[in-house]
């Protein structure tokens, strides 16, 4: 019997498979398709202080082995998430959740983190730092080590729950950002967020997406994710939740060998609503195939 459990900051997960934020709503809608309680955890839809409609449509562009999205953090706002969405999800999912929060200022991160800190269902707070800082000239928090560190420090100061910083790959040296957030008390790292991309419609000769650019995800970015996780694993001593184009049990094993303690599945949920279930069910056999008795033993095994 293969042991596919893993641990994130003391929280034991039955398996390392977690649907990634923004690809799984608030989870309960997938309960129509299968028992979502099999999931290792759920990283729910990125939540901001205020309700957001998000960006204009079209928000989606297809790519070879992936897609670009520019949803723009559409969500009902932290109050409604805490008071309505999470209690509804609690009917279907009984394990600790990963609360994905976003902000356009340090105050917004602080507010969202405080609200999530008070929710028993939340096991980990995952902080998306890819948003532009409205007080910093619109430059993303995640592309500057000092700005990223300031978010980590702010969130760390208002919660006792583990804080995972979700890193953007759109930087020169991701290890510098990883070290900076670790130094300010981050308990872990989620990586990678989407790669900035664009498609142009040859008929209209204009960008497909209304917002012109968006986040590129899907199997095409898997090698980039694998490489960056490998690099960050060597740079820090905190656990990594790996993600980026994962669509199979083999992919999960590969990112864990690179250094991930758990793995999120994103884009694949959008083309196969059963993606996480399929991967979880395939993991034991895949482990046996590669001679793995205890999956967590292989974390960072490629180094």
């Amino acid at each position: 019997m293969v042991d596919i459990s893993t641990t994130l900051s003391g929280i034991k997960l039955d398996n390392p498979v977690i649907p990634a934020s923004g690809t799984f709503g608030f989870g309960y809608e997938f309960a129509d398709y299968y028992d979502i309680n099999i999931l290792g955890s759920i990283s729910f839809k990125g939540t901001t202080a205020e309700p957001r409609f998000g960006n204009p449509t079209p928000r989606i562009a297809e790519c070879t082995e992936g897609l670009i999205n520019s949803v723009g953090l559409q969500n009902p706002g932290v109050e409604k998430v805490v008071n309505e969405e999470l209690p509804h999800l609690a009917k279907f999912y009984k394990k600790p959740l990963i609360a994905n929060i976003s902000g356009f200022s340090l105050d917004e991160y602080k507010l969202c983190a405080e609200k999530m800190d008070a929710v028993d269902q939340v096991g980990i707070i995952e902080v998306n730092i890819s948003c532009p800082n409205v007080h910093g000239g619109g430059i993303s928090f995640g592309t500057n080590a000092a700005a990223a560190a300031s978010v980590a420090k702010t969130v760390r100061s208002v919660t006792n729950k583990p804080v995972y910083i979700k890193l953007t790959p759109n930087v020169t040296d991701i290890t510098e950002i990883a070290r900076a957030v670790e130094a300010e008390g981050a308990d872990g790292i989620s990586m990678i967020n989407t790669l900035l991309g664009m498609r142009i419609n040859l008929k209209t000769k204009k960008p497909v997406i209304a917002n012109k650019m968006g986040g590129f995800s899907g199997p095409a970015i898997f090698p980039v994710a694998c490489r960056m996780i490998y690099q960050v694993y060597e740079a820090v001593n905190i656990p990594i939740i790996g993600m980026g184009g994962v669509r199979s049990a083999d992919d999960v094993i590969e990112l864990m060998l690179a250094g991930a303690s758990a793995v999120q599945v994103g884009a694949e949920n959008l083309v196969n609503p059963y993606a996480c279930k399929d991967i979880i069910e395939a993991l034991p056999e895949a482990c046996e195939k590669y001679g793995i008795n205890k999956l967590s033993d292989i974390i960072g095994g490629a180094h």
Binding site: G22, T23, F24, G25, E29, F30, D32, Y33, K45, F53, G54, T57, P58, R59, I60, A61, E62, C63, T64, E65, G66, L67, N69, V71, Q74, V208, G218, P219, A267, N269, L270, V271, N272, P273, Y274
Partner: protein, 245 residues
């Protein structure tokens, strides 16, 4: 929603660059006219959402009619056999209980196909149905005989006047006597023109570029008078009174 493997029974050209595909498989999740199916195509990452034209519950087949508009539908047009991974029963379809006793079903171009199953169900409920089918020109017309065969009164409108009523579906709607409700699917300018041209209440089916097609990604959101809705989940059919242009 159901995810299943569907066998291609037929795939034939019925008008220039317009194809009719019949798929065999579990159709039990298709519960209302105006819903769509989402087809996975080899070599393409995202599925192709296509509205349901007809369902044969006894034979277990679902029919879609699609226009070749890009690389995905180009790949589809050459398929003659084989199996496809399809999600069925997606979206919130038309509500036949709203129709009153004389429903007008209005389709423009590739907005025509979903109106067929709707017309069929309305007629089965004993209602009078007038079908207005809008096309650019005579050569592009399809499905006219199908609507006639199920007992609908059919008015074809062509923009260039080469067949039927000259002009748009709005011009044709003016000629319908005592309609009680309308249902429409077509390009957004057509829907907006209908919305503005008639006092009649109706349900309108919208199109948007989708990521997943089942409500997970928020790619196709729109604003309505009653809050944000997802075209793939709460739509594609919206009630006239909730639409914000």
């Amino acid at each position: 929603m159901n995810k299943g493997i569907y066998k291609i029974i037929e795939n034939k050209c019925i008008a220039p660059m317009v194809y009719k595909m019949v798929l065999s498989g579990d159709v039990s999740h298709i519960t209302a006219p105006g819903q769509f199916i989402n087809i996975a195509l080899e070599g393409f990452y995202l599925r192709r959402p296509i509205s349901v034209h007809d369902v044969d519950r006894e034979a277990g087949t679902v029919t879609v009619i699609y226009k070749v508009v890009g690389r995905g539908t180009e790949a589809m047009m050459n398929m003659t056999e084989g199996e496809l991974d399809v999600l069925t029963g997606l979206g919130n379809g038309f509500d036949t209980s709203l129709s009153g006793d004389h429903a007008v079903v209005i389709g423009g171009g590739v907005g025509v196909p979903p109106m067929f199953l709707l017309a069929k169900e309305l007629i089965a409920e004993g209602k009078k149905v007038t079908a207005i089918l809008g096309f650019n020109k005579k050569e592009e017309i399809f499905c006219e005989d199908d609507f006639k065969a199920i007992g609908a009164d059919v008015i074809v409108a062509t923009a260039d006047g080469s067949y039927g009523v000259k002009g748009f579906v709005t011009n044709a709607l003016e000629t319908v006597e005592a309609p009680t409700f309308y249902y429409a699917c077509g390009p957004e300018p057509m829907l907006k023109a209908l919305y503005n041209a008639s006092e009649l209440d109706g349900q309108l089916s919208f199109e948007e570029r989708m990521g997943c097609g089942f409500g997970a990604c928020m790619g196709c959101s729109c604003k309505t008078k009653y809050g944000n809705k997802r075209i793939c989940k709460e739509g594609p059919v919206l009630r006239k009174g909730e639409i914000i242009w």
